[in-house]
């Protein structure tokens, strides 16, 4: 399980290119992600966390360096192509689901992530029983609302659905961008538990951005800190288990 799955080599990403406001968001960043890693990503605002995700996802093109998946260079592949191996959950519950389509339709869309979509009928009804079972695992009433437009769901239900959609077709890499941040504390915690359970069960390779130091310490087998576009801290296994919030706070105080 220690084969590198995704490698970022000397990745540079600038915004406002060729203008006086040019800023280097990712500064020769190096990161090797092994299959089965569950990495929590910490860093202050503007450290480049979301940009890192957008670089991996292909939303932002990199200026130099390489992104390798299983040794293959994917630096210039389109967003659509990368969805074959990549799934994402966004912070904003509105971004993860289609509001005018119902829960089942959203799941059906997600099940074909990265695959060709043809003029074949969608066959939604055949899937309903299975979707009911899957949504029931969320324990938040989603299974009773399969035919409800997702725009009418609560933020917690929407975000749980977004997470389900991301994992319905197993991704090689799962990117969670503060996916519980917009929820109330209880709902947020429930979704965090579910996330952890699912990632463990399916042995997913996952990166999770969070601002909760406790979550970053509790979950995952590895923790990285981004600062000024570089990975400044990277611990795994027993070293990570030995970390405490105090140690992290003092580390942050040091780098600022």
């Amino acid at each position: 399980m220690t084969k590198p799955l995704l490698e970022l080599k000397n990745v540079v990403l600038k915004v406002n290119r060729n203008t006086p406001e040019e800023i280097m968001i990712l500064d020769h960043l190096n990161l090797t992600i092994n299959a089965g890693d569950f990495i929590t990503v910490l860093g202050s605002n503007g450290a480049g966390k979301s940009t890192l995700f957008n670089a991996i996802g292909g939303d932002l093109s990199i200026d130099s360096g390489q992104i390798l998946l299983n040794g293959k260079d994917i630096s210039h592949e389109s967003v659509e192509k990368r969805t074959r191996f990549l799934a994402r959950v966004f912070q904003d519950p509105k971004l993860g689901t289609a509001p005018r389509m119902n829960v089942a339709e959203n799941l059906l869309l997600a099940e074909r992530r990265g695959q060709r979509r043809t003029l074949a009928p969608r066959h939604l009804n055949k899937q309903l029983d299975r979707y009911k079972e899957i949504t029931a695992t969320m324990h938040n009433g989603l299974d009773e609302r399969l035919t409800t437009a997702t725009g009418n769901l609560s933020g917690g239900q929407r975000q749980a659905l977004s997470f389900l959609m991301a994992t319905l077709k197993r991704p090689e890499i799962l990117l969670l961008d503060e996916h519980t941040a917009a929820l109330d504390p209880q709902t947020s915690q429930d979704l965090m538990h579910l996330t952890n359970e699912r990632v463990q069960e399916e042995q997913l390779t996952c990166l999770m951005i969070t601002h909760h130091l406790e979550d970053a310490l509790t979950y995952g087998n590895r923790l990285i800190v981004l600062h000024h576009g570089k990975v400044t801290f990277d611990v795994a296994g027993a070293d990570k288990d030995a970390l405490t919030t105090e140690k992290l706070y003092s580390f942050f105080a040091e780098i600022e």
Binding site: T83, L109, R117, T118, L119, A120
Partner: protein
Amino acid sequence: MSLIVSAIGQGLLWAVLGVGLFLTFRILDFADMTVEGTFPLGAATAVAAISNGMNPLLATLLAFAIGAIAGLITGLLYTKGHIPILLAGILVMTACYSVNLRIMGRANVSLLGKSTLFKNHFLASLPQYFDSVFLGTLVMVVITGLVIYFLQTQLGQGFIATGDNQTMARSLGINTDNMKIMGLMVSNGLIAFGGALVAQNNGYADVNMGIGIIVIALASIIIGEVAFGDLTLNQRLVAVSLGSILYRFVLLIVLKLGFSANDLNLLSSIILALCMMLPVFKKTFNFKHILKRGLDTND
């Protein structure tokens, strides 16, 4: 009576525009101005082709194809050229004006003495105005059926998702640029198809016949929605045809009130504006509350 039948026939023939515009206005969620150019483009194409001896059915299908090409250009300007959709549509619409004059050779071309879709033995045997009712029904059943089928396919679902939430659609591997281009092509193809039908029904094509088309097409969509309330997507598509017929009735009443045909564009805009502001009025005046108070018995 014959006026009513005529209104139904006209409503059905013009309903193609509503279904075409539905794809962009309601599903992709933007207003595509190209249609003001593709409607006369379809008419010009069909009339020119028929005048040159082409079979009317083939000429009508050719109009669809030419309209789709105009939609393709708008789509490319919008997605690849990053021109805002409103402006991209206006650019193609403006360009179409010149193209239409080129196709027809002059501003107005008559189909007098030429064969059209309406001139066949069966349609001629029907009572007056029933030819457009028959042909309009046939066209709308086929087109609405095809669109409904398409929207229930894997591709169609990706198309709907693109208009609903682009970020999500992209994160699921849906090529949203291609979806928008496809939507604009089919939409403008249908509008041009409608132009070809209307031109054959009227017996001529005119370079100015596109003015106000987007308002007419929107009217059938909005009136259908206002009249029939909460509907599923499929039902809303059927409601477009009914909305288009209702719109013709409204025009009929307006003409009966003594307005001239020259006032129609002004009146159409006013009707559409009122319909689109209905939600605001409902909120401001709280119709339901007033209605309830009026109907409730004093207890």
